[in-house]
C-alpha cells in the first residue's frame, strides 16, 4: 500500500518493470463476500504461457486438419458424397496429412501435436455463442454462478508472468454491432473470480496501440500533465483522514497502474509499427495475423494468457453457412502463414518450450450432419441433396462429433498425431475422444494447475474444470 504522503510525482517517474501489477494486486473488502482463493498449485509446470488461437464460428475438420476423400466440384454432385473439398497435402510429419491451403502450418507440424478427436458438447441446439461459452469456461450455460473464462482461471492461479503485462489478454473480438455480443461478454469475463480477472481486451489488433495510448487527439505531454494534476489534487486534498483507507489506496494504485502500463516498456509490445517490416508483412495477411504478431510480442514481454480470435460474428468468418469451399480457401490463407510464423518465431527465440499454443474451435462442420451422428440436433442450414451451385459446395452444418485441435510448445509432444476419425461420413471420432473438460485439464496441467483448482463461491467450491473432474491427457504433454 502506498503512502499517500509520499511524493507521488517521484513515484510516477518509476516506469520500469513492476508496473501494471494491478491484476495481481488484491483488494478484498472485509465483508465476508470476497471469493477465497484456493492454495497455489504445487505441481510442476511445463509452460508459463498459454496462447489460444480461436477459430471462431466452427472450423470444419475435414477441410483443414483432417482431410478425407476429396471430391472436386461438379454441378449435379450428390451432397452425401462430399467429405472434403480440398485435396490433402504432406506435412513435416510422415503420417500426418492436412488440407491444401495450410502448407506453411504443415511445415511446422513436427513442432506440435495434432488432435483430431476433440468432441464437443451436446447442447441440444446449435448456438455458437453458447458452445463458445462452453469451450471457454468448461461449463454449459446457463450457470447459477458466473463461470470464469479459462484465461481468468490461469490469471487467478498464476498471476502475471511479468507484472507489467496483464495476465489475461483477449485479442480480436469486437462487440460493436455484433448480434451475439452479449453472449460473448457472458464468458469473456473473470466471472465469480472477480473483476480483477476480467480480460484486458484488444478488440482490434490493428489498433492495439490505442488501448495503451492516451485518448485520441491528446498529446503525450498533456497526458502526463493530466496525471500530474491528479497527483497535485490528491496531494492537496483535504479529505478526512478516515477516508484514506484501503479502498482509497486501491483506487490510487489502480490509476497509477493504468498510467504506468501506458508508459512502460511493455506497452511497446502493443505498438505493432515497431515490428521490423519483413516480419510485420508476414503476419499482416489478416487481422488475425496481426493478432498473432501481437501475441508474440506480448509473450516476449512476459504474458500469461493470450487468446487471439479470428473474431466471431453470426455467419461471418468460420461460421460458413454457405460457400464453404470458397470461403475456407480465404480463411486458410488468413491463418496459415501467421500460425506458422508464430510457432517459428517463438521457437527461434527459445520461447516455444515454455509457451503452449492451442488452436481450437467451438465445433466442426459437416455437409449433412448437424450435431453428432447419434445425437442430431435441428438442422439450421439448408443443404440440397444435389449440389448444382458452388455456394452449396462445402461444410455448412454444425458438427460436434469431432474437431481438430493443434498444440505447439509448452510441453506439447512434437510430431504427435492423436485420435482418429472415420474415413467416411459420418467422419466422427472413432478413437481417443477428448472432451472440453479433459482438454482444459491438459492445458492447465501444462501450466501446473490442477483440474480441481477451485475457489469458494457461495460457500461451495467452483472448479477450474467441470466439477473438478478433468483428467489431463498425459499422452499429449510432457
Amino acid at each position: 500500500v502506498l503512502n499517500i504522503s509520499s511524493n507521488r510525482r517521484e513515484f510516477l517517474r518509476l516506469t520500469a518493470a513492476g508496473t501494471l501489477a494491478a491484476l495481481a494486486g488484491s483488494f478484498d473488502v472485509p465483508l465476508g463476500r470476497a471469493v477465497q482463493a484456493a492454495p497455489r498449485p504445487a505441481s510442476k509446470s511445463m509452460a508459463d504461457t498459454l496462447i489460444v488461437l480461436w477459430m471462431a464460428g466452427g472450423m470444419a475438420h475435414t477441410e483443414t486438419f483432417d482431410p478425407k476423400r476429396h471430391s472436386t466440384f461438379t454441378a449435379g454432385m450428390r451432397a452425401d458424397e462430399v467429405l472434403c473439398t480440398f485435396p490433402p497435402i504432406d506435412t513435416a510429419v510422415d503420417n500426418i496429412k492436412i488440407s491444401q491451403g495450410l502448407e506453411k502450418t504443415a511445415a511446422v507440424m513436427d513442432l506440435g501435436t495434432l488432435i483430431r478427436t476433440h468432441v464437443l458438447g451436446d447442447l441440444g441446439h446449435i448456438l455458437h455463442s453458447r458452445h463458445q461459452y462452453h469451450w471457454h469456461t468448461g461449463y454449459e450455460p446457463p450457470q447459477t454462478v458466473a463461470a470464469p473464462h479459462l484465461g481468468a482461471w490461469i490469471a487467478h492461479a498464476l498471476g502475471p508472468v511479468n507484472p507489467a503485462v496483464p495476465a489475461f489478454i483477449d485479442v480480436g473480438q469486437g462487440y460493436e454491432g455484433n448480434g451475439e455480443a452479449e453472449e460473448l461478454k457472458a464468458f469473456q469475463t473473470g466471472g465469480c473470480l472477480g473483476s480483477r480477472f476480467n480480460p484486458f481486451r484488444v478488440p482490434d489488433p490493428r489498433q492495439a496501440v490505442n488501448v495503451v495510448r492516451p485518448p485520441a487527439g491528446m498529446s503525450e505531454k498533456r497526458f502526463r500533465q493530466r496525471f500530474q494534476t491528479l497527483q497535485q489534487l490528491v496531494a492537496a486534498s483535504t479529505a478526512a483522514k478516515e477516508h484514506r483507507d484501503a479502498q482509497h489506496e486501491a483506487l490510487l494504485r489502480a490509476s497509477d497502474d493504468a498510467y504506468r502500463l501506458m508508459e512502460s516498456p511493455a506497452a511497446k509490445a502493443f505498438d505493432l509499427s515497431l515490428e521490423p517490416r519483413e516480419s510485420y508483412d508476414t503476419y499482416n495477411i489478416s487481422k488475425f495475423g496481426l493478432g498473432c504478431l501481437l501475441a508474440r510480442r506480448l509473450v516476449e514481454q512476459g504474458a500469461r494468457f493470450i487468446e487471439v480470435t479470428t473474431e466471431y460474428g453470426p455467419f461471418l468468418q468460420w461460421d460458413t453457412h454457405d460457400n464453404g469451399h470458397t470461403r475456407l480457401a480465404t480463411l486458410k490463407e488468413e491463418i496459415d502463414a501467421p500460425i506458422a510464423q508464430l510457432v517459428r518465431d517463438l521457437e527461434s527465440r527459445k520461447l516455444l518450450d515454455r509457451t503452449m499454443i492451442v488452436l481450437a474451435s467451438e465445433f466442426s462442420r459437416d455437409c449433412l450432419v448437424e450435431g453428432k451422428p447419434d445425437r442430431k440436433v435441428p438442422d439450421q442450414v439448408e443443404q440440397p441433396a444435389v449440389i448444382n451451385e458452388l455456394k452449396f459446395y462445402g461444410m455448412h452444418r454444425h458438427f460436434t462429433g469431432a474437431s481438430s485441435v493443434l498444440m505447439f510448445g509448452g510441453g506439447a509432444k512434437r510430431g504427435l498425431l492423436y485420435g482418429k476419425t472415420a474415413p467416411e461420413r459420418p467422419c466422427t471420432t472413432i478413437e481417443n475422444p477428448i472432451n472440453i473438460t479433459d482438454l482444459h485439464a491438459t492445458m492447465l496441467a501444462a501450466l501446473g494447475i490442477a483440474p480441481d483448482y477451485n475457489v469458494e463461491v457461495e460457500q461451495r467450491p467452483f472448479y477450474a474444470t467441470k466439477d473438478g473432474k478433468g483428467v489431463p491427457r498425459r499422452e499429449l504433454i510432457g
Binding site: S129, R130, V234, A246, H248, L251
Partner: protein, 856 residues
C-alpha cells in the same frame, strides 16, 4: 495415469448436505434414488456411492453427536478408530472389516442397521469396493456438521430503555446503546453536514446533493430536525428515488437484461412495472406478491419467467427451478442453487425442497433430477416453510403461485421482512446485519435490531421508505464513515463502528459525471425502443409508465388486434397456401389527421406496410408483430393502407396477414380504428403504383378471412399479450426528465465500473478497484466525451470566474468547498480565463480522485 485424484465433485456436495439436515429423518423408500450395480471398471465414488448409504442407513445413530456403540462415522479417522468393538474397517481389506461383517450379519444383535431392510447386495458391494480402494474420503468433509437455521417467526423485541442523558430517540440507537458499550465503541455523530448530505443523497437517490440542499443543511438552525427534513425531501423525489433503486432491483431481479438466450425470446423485462412500483413506493409485501403471482398483463411476470436458453439446459436451470432459486434468494435470503441439483451441502435444503417450490411454477408435474439425471420420482408441490401453510397441488398454476405469494407475505413469515431490511441496511451501512446477504440463516450481529426493523416494516404497511428514514435518521448512520483498513480484513469478529465508506456504483459514478458536466443524455429513438427481440427499451417502458393514462398507451388496457382478422388471398391459407407474394389495400377516410396512429401488424411469413405509398415498416418474423406510429404519413381525407405480404418456404404452408391501426386524438382518446377484415382488397399480382392512393383496385377481390386473432396456428393474441411485440412506439418522456445511468443500456464504462449483465442474481457487487477500470476511465471514449462536453458547458457559462467554477465543481463532485491549496492548484489548471483543455483536465482529475469515487 490419473494425475489428480478427483474424489470430490459437486455431486458429493449434494450428499454431504444431506447429513446435517436430516439426521433425525427416517428415510422413506420414496426418496431412495434408483441405483444399479456400479460397473466394475468404474471406481467407487465416495460422494456418489458411499456417503448416501451412510446417510440413509447409519447417520441416525453414528453421525453428528450420535455415537452408538462408541462408533462415529463423522470422519474417515473416526471410522478407522472405530467403536467399542474395535476399528470398524481395515483399509484395503474389506473381508477383515467389521463394518462389512455387521451389514451382512443375520444375527439380530449384531446386524447393522439393526432395524429395517438389510443393505442391498449392490450397497454391500459398493462398501466392500470402497474399503478395498483404501476408503477415499473428501478432505475436510465430515458428517453431521451443523448448519444454523434462523427462526422463522417475527419477533417484536421491546425498544431498550436508555439513560435520558443519552438523548437517543431513534430505536436503532437505543438498540445499539448497549452494543456499543459492550464493544467499547465511542459513538460520535459526525457534525459535518457536507458528509451527511452526500452520504444520504447517494444512498437514497443515487445522486450528489445539490449545492442548494447542502447549503440549507449547513445553515440549518436545528440540525436533527433539518436532517430529517432533508431525508424526507430526498425520498419525496419519486423520480430520483425510482431511478436509483432500479439499479438495486434490476440486479436482484435480473432485469434490464441484455444477453444470452435472446434469440428465443429469452427474457421478459419488467422495467415498466418495476419503475411504477418504485415510483409509487408500492408496499413491499404487495411488490413481492405481484412478482411471484403476477396479475395478467401487469408487466411483472418476467421475474418468474427466468431466462430461456436455446437448446437443452441442465435440469437445475429449467425455468421453474430458476423461479424457485430466485424466490428463495431474493425474498427469503436462502440458497436453493445447490439443492436444485442434489441435496445441498451449504444448508439444509434437499433436492425435494427445491423441486417442491419449483413445482409451484410448473405447468405439469416435474420429475426429480439429481445432477441432471432423472430419478423416476415425481416432485410434489410445496413451500420451504410448511409451518406457514401448504400449497394445494390440485390448484391451477396461477392458483399455486398465488398461494405461494400469500405464504411469502404471511404475517408469521418473519424471514421475508428480515431479508429486505437486511439488504437495505447493507445499502446504507455498507454491510448487512447478517452476512452474506443471501444467507439469512447466518447469525446477525444484532438479532434484536434485525427483528425490530423487520417487524417495524411489517407493522407499518411494508413501507420501505419508512425503514430507510428510520435508518438514515439514526445516530448510527450519522457516525463518521469507517474505512476498509487492512487490519479489518482479519478474521476477527465483525464489530459495527459506523457506516462503511462506500464506493460509488457504476450508475452513481455516471450520474455524478452527468451532473457535473451537464451532459444528461437526450431521449433518442434508440434508447426508447426495444430492439426487436424484446430487449432494450427500458426507457420506452418507463415513458409508458409515466404517461400513465392507458388510453394513450397502445399496449394498455385495450386488447391489441381485438377486431382484426387474419386475411389472405385464399380461403384455405390457414391450412396451406403456396409460397407466393400477395398485395392488400384498404382506403381509410379520416376527418382529421390523428395525433397518433398506432399500427400493429404481422404476417406469416413477411410483410411490408405502406401508408399513402410510403413504407412505414417491415417484418419477417410473424411471432413478433411490429408496432409503429404512422400518424406522420396520414392526412385528413382519403388514406390508403397497403400491405405487400409473402408466404415463404418451398412447399405450401400456412399464410396470413393481420393488423390494425388505432387512431388517437391529442387527448389520447380513440378517434378511429382500422382492422384487417373482408373489407380489404387483395391481388396476387403486383401492379404498378398499387400501394399509392390514386391506384384503382376495382379489379381486385375482397380479402379472404381466415379467422380472428385467437386462431391456430398463430394464436397471435395470446402471444402479443405475453409481450411478443416489436414496438417502435413510445409515449413521450415528461419534460425535464433526467435519463439516469440505470436507464441506459450497459456500456463499456458502466461494465468496467461493475454494473453486471444480470446473467445471475446479484445482491452485492464487486467493488474492487482494478487497473482495467482505471484504464477505461483514462482513455475510454465514454468518459472522455462527457468530459469534453462538460468542459464546453462550463466554458459557455459566461461571467463565472475560474475560482467560482472551481468552487462549484468541488461542491457538486465532492460535496464540499475546496481548500485554499486545492483552489490554487485547480485554478492553475483551469486557466484564467478558463480554457477548454484546462477545464477538461480539471474535470477529469476530479473524477479520478478517490474522494470522488468514495462516499464517506
Amino acid at each position: 495415469m490419473r494425475f489428480f485424484p478427483t474424489l470430490f465433485s459437486q455431486r458429493l456436495i449434494g450428499v454431504v448436505t444431506v447429513l446435517a439436515a436430516c439426521s433425525l429423518v427416517v428415510p422413506s423408500s420414496a426418496d431412495e434414488p434408483r441405483r444399479d450395480a456400479k460397473p466394475a471398471d468404474k471406481p467407487v465414488d465416495f460422494a456418489d456411492d458411499v456417503a448416501p448409504i451412510f446417510q440413509k442407513r447409519c447417520a441416525k445413530c453414528h453421525t453428528g453427536t450420535q455415537k452408538k456403540g462408541g462408533l462415529s462415522l463423522n470422519t474417515r479417522q473416526t471410522l478407522l478408530t472405530g467403536g467399542d468393538s474395535g476399528p470398524a474397517v481395515v483399509p484395503k481389506k474389506s473381508a477383515e472389516s467389521e463394518l462389512i461383517e455387521r451389514v451382512t450379519s443375520t444375527e439380530a444383535d449384531a446386524r447393522m442397521p439393526p432395524e429395517g431392510e438389510r443393505l442391498t447386495d449392490v450397497q454391500v458391494e459398493l462398501l466392500k469396493r470402497w474399503i478395498d480402494a483404501d476408503l477415499p474420503w473428501e478432505d475436510g468433509f465430515a458428517f453431521g456438521k451443523a448448519t444454523r437455521q434462523a427462526p422463522l417467526a417475527p419477533r417484536r423485541p421491546a425498544v431498550p430503555n436508555v439513560p435520558d442523558d443519552a438523548r437517543l430517540t431513534n430505536p436503532i440507537d437505543r438498540f445499539l446503546y448497549g452494543y456499543f458499550a459492550k464493544h467499547n465503541v465511542t459513538v460520535r455523530v459526525d457534525d459535518s453536514d457536507d458528509v451527511f448530505a452526500r452520504r444520504a443523497s447517494f444512498d437514497l437517490i443515487g445522486l450528489p446533493p445539490t449545492p442548494k440542499d447542502a447549503e440549507e443543511l449547513r445553515t440549518a438552525a436545528r440540525p436533527s430536525t433539518d436532517r430529517l427534513k432533508y431525508i424526507q425531501r430526498l425520498l419525496a423525489d419519486r423520480e430520483a428515488y425510482a431511478a436509483h433503486w432500479l439499479t438495486f432491483w434490476n440486479d436482484l431481479l435480473r432485469n434490464a437484461y441484455h444477453g444470452t438466450g435472446f434469440i428465443d425470446g429469452g427474457r421478459k423485462q419488467i422495467t415498466g412495472w418495476l419503475y411504477a412500483a418504485l415510483h409509487e413506493n408500492v408496499p413491499y409485501d404487495r411488490f413481492a406478491h405481484d412478482l411471484v403471482s403476477p396479475k395478467p398483463a401487469s408487466g411483472s411476470e418476467g421475474f418468474t419467467f427466468g431466462i430461456k436458453w436455446r437448446g437443452t439446459v441442465n435440469e437445475s436451470q429449467r425455468r421453474e427451478i430458476q423461479a424457485a432459486q430466485s424466490v428463495g434468494q431474493v425474498f427469503l435470503g436462502t440458497n436453493l442453487k445447490c439443492a436444485s441439483c442434489h441435496d445441498s451441502f451449504v444448508n439444509h435444503w434437499k433436492l425435494t425442497d427445491a423441486y417442491a417450490l419449483a413445482s409451484v411454477f410448473a405447468d405439469g408435474k416435474l420429475e426429480l433430477h439429481r445432477c441432471d439425471q432423472p430419478e423416476g420420482i415425481p416432485a410434489t408441490v410445496g413451500f420451504l416453510y410448511p409451518e406457514l401453510g401448504t400449497i394445494d397441488p390440485q390448484a391451477s398454476r396461477e392458483g399455486r403461485m398465488r398461494q405461494l405469494a400469500d405464504l411469502l407475505v404471511h404475517e408469521q413469515n418473519g424471514r421475508f421482512a428480515r431479508t429486505i431490511v437486511n439488504r437495505l441496511w447493507a445499502k446504507l451501512f455498507g454491510r448487512g446485519l447478517v452476512e452474506p446477504l443471501d444467507n439469512m440463516d447466518a447469525e446477525p450481529w444484532h438479532q434484536d435490531l434485525l427483528d425490530y426493523l423487520a417487524s417495524d416494516l411489517a407493522d407499518h404497511g411494508y413501507d420501505l421508505k419508512r425503514t430507510l428514514t428510520l435508518m438514515a435518521t439514526s445516530h448510527a448512520y450519522q457516525m463518521p464513515g469507517v474505512g476498509f483498513d487492512n487490519t479489518a480484513a482479519g478474521g476477527d469478529e465483525f464489530v459495527f463502528r459506523g457506516p462503511f465508506v462506500k464506493r460509488l456504483t457504476a450508475e452513481q459514478f455516471v450520474d455524478t459525471v452527468f451532473t457535473l458536466t451537464s451532459t444528461w443524455p437526450e431521449p433518442d429513438a434508440g434508447l426508447l425502443k426495444s430492439d426487436g427481440r424484446a430487449q432494450g427499451g427500458q426507457l420506452g417502458a418507463i415513458a409508458q409508465t409515466l404517461a400513465g393514462d392507458s388510453s394513450s398507451s397502445p399496449a394498455g388496457e385495450r386488447r391489441l388486434l381485438a377486431q382484426a382478422h387474419w386475411v389472405w388471398s385464399r380461403r384455405d391459407a390457414r391450412q396451406a397456401a403456396p409460397p407466393q407474394t400477395i398485395f392488400l389495400r384498404r382506403v381509410w377516410p379520416l376527418e382529421a389527421r390523428p395525433a397518433r396512429a398506432i399500427a400493429t401488424f404481422t404476417a406469416d411469413n413477411s410483410c411490408e406496410l405502406f401508408v399513402n405509398g410510403k413504407s412505414v415498416g417491415k417484418l419477417d418474423n410473424w411471432a413478433m408483430p411490429f408496432q409503429v406510429d404512422v400518424a406522420d404519413a396520414l392526412i385528413a381525407g382519403k388514406n390508403v393502407l397497403a400491405i405487400k405480404a409473402a408466404n415463404g418456404g418451398s412447399s405450401p404452408n400456412p399464410a396470413g396477414v393481420i393488423g390494425e391501426v388505432v387512431a388517437l386524438g391529442a387527448d389520447g382518446k380513440h378517434v378511429g380504428l382500422l382492422s384487417t377484415d373482408e373489407s380489404w382488397r387483395v391481388s396476387e399480382v403486383e401492379a404498378a403504383g398499387w400501394q399509392k392512393a390514386e391506384f384503382s383496385d376495382s379489379a381486385w377481390t375482397a380479402a379472404a378471412v381466415l379467422g380472428d386473432a385467437s386462431v391456430d396456428p398463430w394464436q397471435i393474441e395470446k402471444s402479443v399479450a405475453q409481450g411478443n411485440l416489436n414496438s417502435q412506439v413510445s409515449a413521450p418522456l415528461p419534460a425535464e426528465f433526467r435519463i439516469r445511468a440505470a436507464l441506459l443500456p450497459l456500456d463499456s464504462l458502466q461494465a468496467a465500473l461493475g454494473r453486471p449483465n444480470r446473467e445471475q442474481v446479484v445482491s452485492s457487487r464487486d467493488t474492487s478497484p482494478t487497473m482495467l477500470q482505471a484504464l477505461e476511465l483514462t482513455n475510454g471514449t465514454q468518459l472522455g466525451q462527457a468530459i469534453q462536453r462538460g468542459a464546453a458547458a462550463w466554458h459557455r457559462q459566461q461571467g463565472k470566474t475560474t475560482p467560482q467554477i472551481v468552487d462549484e465543481v468541488y461542491q457538486i463532485a465532492l460535496g464540499r468547498s475546496p481548500s485554499n491549496g486545492e483552489r490554487q492548484v485547480s485554478s492553475e489548471i483551469v486557466g484564467s480565463p478558463a480554457a477548454q483543455e484546462g477545464l477538461e483536465d480539471f474535470l477529469w482529475s476530479i473524477c479520478m480522485l478517490p474522494e470522488f469515487q468514495l462516499v464517506p
